[in-house]
């Protein structure tokens, strides 16, 4: 390698042919390393969100209680079930609860479900909302998010336009606050 002496120290000049592949390989290595690090961060962040949103699995207990209440009210309030013995009503409630639990995958352990949630979330398979629906009536989370996005973008884009325009002209604020000679002082 060619080298030259500058002020007593030696600086190595890489050959022109060697420079690009060396820079590229360093860049690729960096991109790969950084990409993996960021992906791991996303996985941890999303899994934590899943755990917190589900209250560490405690939400299942709340959901089951909600289902029991709703199913109990529906069966006991149905005029067709009037006069049936209490044991028969209990059996019907239990049957419907099992069906509802299976529909919401509550029959699987939370640990297993949380991993499934994570895989779906990372592959952007966002599934269906449980209560919220879009204006068009869809329960698909993607449809709901896409429907709400323009409103947020509109608001935030205007706000960004307004708040960034004085930032780029902050020189004028410096002039205004410190006088015209701020740069010369």
């Amino acid at each position: 390698m060619a080298s030259e002496t500058l002020g007593g120290g030696t600086i190595t000049k890489p050959r022109a042919g060697m420079r690009l592949p060396d820079t590229l390989s360093r860049l690729l290595k960096y991109v790969l390393f950084r990409g993996v690090a960021l992906f791991v961060t996303v996985v941890i962040g999303v899994y934590l969100t899943i755990l917190i949103a589900n209250m560490g699995g405690y939400l299942d207990t709340i959901r089951k209680a909600q289902i029991q209440e709703e199913v109990g009210l529906a069966i006991n309030g149905d005029p067709a079930n009037k006069g049936l013995p209490a044991s028969e009503l209990r059996r019907m409630v239990e049957e419907r609860m099992i069906i509802e639990s299976k529909r919401l995958n509550l029959d699987q352990p939370f640990a297993l479900r949380s991993v499934n949630y994570l895989t779906d979330a990372l592959t952007l398979n966002l599934g269906r909302a449980e209560f919220i629906s879009s204006d068009s009536g869809s329960r698909r989370v993607q449809a709901i998010l896409v429907e709400r996005m323009p409103a947020t973008l509109l608001l935030s884009a205007w706000r960004t336009c307004f708040s960034f325009s004085p930032r780029f002209s902050s020189r004028s604020f410096c002039h205004a606050t410190m006088g015209a000679g701020w740069i010369a002082s």
Partner: protein
Amino acid sequence: MIALAPTSSIPAWFYGIFLILFFAAITHVLPFGGMVDAPVPEKMSDYIVSLLKHMILPISALLAHSIFIAIYNWRTFFLIYSSEDYVEMAKAKGLTARTVERQYILRPTLPPIVTSFAFTLVYLWQGAIILETVFAWPGLGRLLYQAINLFDVPVIVGNTVLIAYLLVTSVFLLDIVYALLDPRVKVGGERRA
């Protein structure tokens, strides 16, 4: 302007409540909330006017919250870079004030500007949760608020994943943009013999 910087510690929705109180409840010049009038105007021009009218208060609240601290931050950055040795050297060389500002002070402030802009873009997607709720603005922030209240886990996770991916992409691109903007940032170390 600088003395007003502490006013940014008040959240935007708090300003929003006062703006609603004054401009909607007392003076009746602007609407309380929502995105357009009800019933929705049929003519496009009326729709746009209605939309703009509804946007005035939420945008004013967001600006009141962020503008003064932004000015303070940028003033600080400019002052830091204006006292660097190479700026003194440029002044000693007799360069014009405009050249010194543009090439010796503005250039090094670009990385913080780009960072701030990139994170503003992420914030732009995320929406303001409480502000949108206060103004009944039908955006992603309000959706998240509703989803949390209803324990609608798929919507909460979906919203979070979207923001996480956007944030990570911004950070990743920022790393590359930094290296392009700031010659001091290098990928890996220079080999020395």
